[in-house]
């Protein structure tokens, strides 16, 4: 009986293996970049890095398309599915309705979307726990601060950025309950993602009020915040990708949101058969969120700070610290 089972198991594995090979041979993964384009030095480019890594490692090619107008989102998603691409990855929340329609029209094709949830049986929705990473850099900010005052500069005032802000405040207070956090949003329009001048102004005003560490979650606006920090001899914290190299000595750390890892994992898991539909929440535990420590900021992070942030990270992963998610109730408890 046991032997029979083993044989059955072996043949099942073999079957699965051949199925995967067949899949790999005729199904090419596809990615649909959004309007920023794949070289936007931010979100889309992160995805591009991830799928490029997949291509280099596996040698599998992928189809890609950069949309230029809103109608092309749905066209591109459908077209990729029609050509037999699998899985089809949509980049960013703006593609949610295109992915949803595509998933309904092509129930046998696997879809994935980053930064948004689409409830369809053949869609993998990848969202990040930005609040967890923000908590960690909040801990570092509070410990690096000499004045007990730290700052936050957000980009466009959308719930996602308030999630960053809320996690950061939570982390700061966790490390130093008496600390003061100044928080400003750059604006209410997409131009707030790319306004370094205003970023610098907001940073200077926070420095004038006594802050000496500022976390910027503001896309291109952050460049102005980091420059202001350097000019004033204060600290800044980067976001999304590792920005420590921008101003070594000024950049305390960066909060990492690994969209590249997410894109890579989607393609990788689809090619080896471990792909699952449903919501994938990537946080500290899954390696989707982290903080950056490299040769550019090693001198700024004291052993005590590292110990504290490592402990906080372990506690969050273990569930001992629950970081509040702003988007769960649109509130940030003080």
């Amino acid at each position: 009986m046991k032997k029979l089972l083993t044989i059955l198991n072996a043949s099942a594995v073999l079957l699965a293996a051949t199925a995967t090979v067949a899949l790999a041979a005729d199904k090419m993964p596809a990615v649909v970049f959004d309007m920023g384009g794949k070289f936007d030095k931010s979100f889309n480019q992160g995805v591009y890095d991830g799928v490029e890594k997949f291509r280099k490692e596996t040698g599998m090619k992928y189809r890609e398309f950069e949309v230029k107008n809103p109608t092309q989102r749905e066209q591109a998603v459908r077209k990729m599915a029609q050509r037999g691409s699998d899985p089809v990855l949509g980049v960013g929340f703006a593609q949610a309705s295109a992915i949803e329609k595509g998933a309904k029209a092509f129930p046998d094709t696997r879809f994935a979307i980053i930064d948004m949830v689409v409830m369809q049986p053949n869609v993998q929705s990848i969202v990040f726990k930005e609040h967890e990473g923000s908590f960690l850099v909040g801990v570092l900010a509070a410990m690096a601060s000499k004045t007990g005052k730290v700052g936050f500069v957000g980009g466009m005032d959308i719930p996602l950025i308030r999630r960053f802000e809320c996690g950061y405040i939570h982390g700061v207070k966790h490390a130093m309950a008496s600390a003061t956090v100044y928080a400003n949003m750059t604006g209410t329009t997409p131009s707030a993602w790319n306004d370094p001048t205003k970023g610098a102004e907001l940073a200077k005003s926070q420095f004038d009020r006594g802050a000496d560490v500022i976390f910027a979650a503001a896309g291109g606006t952050g460049i102005g915040v980091y420059q202001a920090a350097k000019d004033n001899g204060k600290y800044a914290i980067g976001v999304d990708s590792n920005q420590n190299h921008l101003h070594p000595g000024t950049m305390l750390t960066s909060m990492l949101k690994r969209v590249d890892v997410a894109a890579y994992n989607t393609f990788k898991s689809a090619s080896d058969g471990s792909w699952k539909s449903g919501i994938q929440v990537l946080g500290l535990k899954e390696g989707g969120i982290d903080w950056a420590l490299d040769e550019h900021n090693r001198d700024l992070i004291t052993p005590a700070m590292k110990a504290a942030v490592d402990k906080a990270k372990a506690d969050i992963i273990a569930g001992k610290i629950m970081v509040h998610d702003y988007m769960s109730d649109n509130k940030c408890p003080k």
Binding site: Q75, R83, P159, T189
Partner: protein, 387 residues
């Protein structure tokens, strides 16, 4: 009172020496062919096969039902914005504000749909939305028109500025006012289905003709109706005559008892209304919600479409078809071969605009000489010598 915009008389009226079919048929074709030759050289320098690329673009634009649907869907937008530019152009005005007028026209459509889609059936909602698109588009063109007519502020400058104002206004409204609560993307809620213009594949299915799904919708018919109306307006009504008179010579028009300032405002408002209809195609036809950037440059492309179509509805339909094919064929090219980035496709489109718009008179002189040599004015038949 206003700065006169210089315009060669042929632009609106055709060449004196060349027959019409050469002027509006052959010349543009040669110009487009030249643009493709240069694009081909460019593609060849990038190490790609230009013939294969052309074939992919052609097949991608016209090769199968779905691609035809997309081509015609883009054409619909270009007919609206092309006609808009043409009407203003006949009045001697260069309306570069089609982008903003289309954007604001869409706002009108969205307000009407969001306010009334729960209460009214499609049959009642459609005329209201069409009216709203026209009113909002015309309203956005009215202010630059008024400033041009009464204050002499150049309409080129003001309409460009109004594009930026329209973009900022829409962002403000979408982020703060009409955004569906609890979502990240700045979009309104989806319109109820009573506000959806039937797709062409749905409409044809009523008659038992099954075609592939595409964003093409009944706005195309509206666009063709607008072509007929604009043709009638410009060449067969008193308003049209007055618009053309002011466009040809505003000072002389005064002596004919025409008020140029009134005509400037009239032409610009008609122009803005036509641009506003892009909102019908985009929002009621395809997106079914208000979202950022749905105008996506259609207003600007309309300038090229109108110039290429010699400001005549028939020419605009053909030029709109060409640009629709470039948009859709270009997208297809990017799908097929990732060596063709969207930027390269913009370059190809730019070359078409360069040759058929900016350089459209480069070949006119040689063509005229060639034509006169091939067919000398006295009619005796000597064509057999050439053959």
């Amino acid at each position: 009172m206003r700065t006169k915009q210089k315009m060669p008389p042929q632009m609106a009226n055709g060449s004196a020496k060349l027959p019409t079919w050469v002027d509006i048929g052959l010349l543009p074709l040669i110009n487009v062919a030249l643009a493709f030759v240069v694009s081909g050289l460019l593609i060849a320098t990038l190490g790609q096969d230009p013939f294969e690329a052309t074939w992919i673009m052609l097949r991608g634009a016209f090769g199968y039902e779905e691609s035809l649907g997309y081509t015609f869907y883009y054409t619909t937008n270009f007919i609206f914005t092309g006609l808009a530019v043409a009407v203003a152009f006949h009045g001697g005005l260069f309306n570069i504000g089609g982008e903003g007028q289309a954007y604001i026209g869409g706002l009108g459509v969205a307000i009407a749909c969001l306010a009334l889609d729960q209460y009214l059936p499609f049959g009642l909602l459609l005329p209201i939305c069409v009216l709203a698109a026209a009113l909002f588009g015309a309203g956005w063109a009215f202010i630059p028109a008024y400033l041009q007519a009464k204050r002499g502020s150049h309409v080129v400058i003001t309409t460009i500025m109004f594009n930026f104002i329209a973009a900022s206004l829409m962002v403000y409204l979408l982020v703060n006012v009409v955004i569906k609560p609890g979502q990240m993307s700045p979009e309104s809620r989806e319109f109820a289905s009573s506000a959806w213009l039937p797709y062409m594949h749905e409409a044809l299915a009523w008659f038992g003709w099954e075609v592939a799904q595409s964003p093409l919708n009944l706005s195309l018919i509206g666009a063709l109706v607008c072509c007929v109306l604009v043709w009638g307006l410009i060449w067969h009504t008193r308003w049209g005559y007055e618009i053309r008179a002011v466009g040809a010579n505003a000072e002389a028009a005064v002596y004919a008892g025409i008020s140029p300032s009134k005509i400037i405002i009239l032409a610009m408002c008609i122009s803005g209304a036509l641009s506003g209809f892009v909102g019908i195609n985009e929002l009621m036809g395809v997106q079914h919600r208000l979202l950022l950037d749905f105008a996506a440059g259609y207003g600007f492309t309309g300038i090229a479409v109108s110039l290429m179509g010699r400001n005549h509805p028939v020419g605009i339909i053909l030029a709109g078809l060409l640009f629709g094919a470039l948009y859709q064929g270009g997208a297809e090219l990017a799908f097929e071969n990732s060596a063709f980035s969207p930027d390269l496709i913009v370059v190809i489109q730019g070359l078409v605009v360069l040759f058929s718009g900016a350089l459209s008179y480069m070949l006119r002189g040689p063509m005229e000489r060639l034509y006169l040599r091939l067919r000398p004015p006295p009619p005796p038949p000597i064509a057999s010598v050439e053959a």
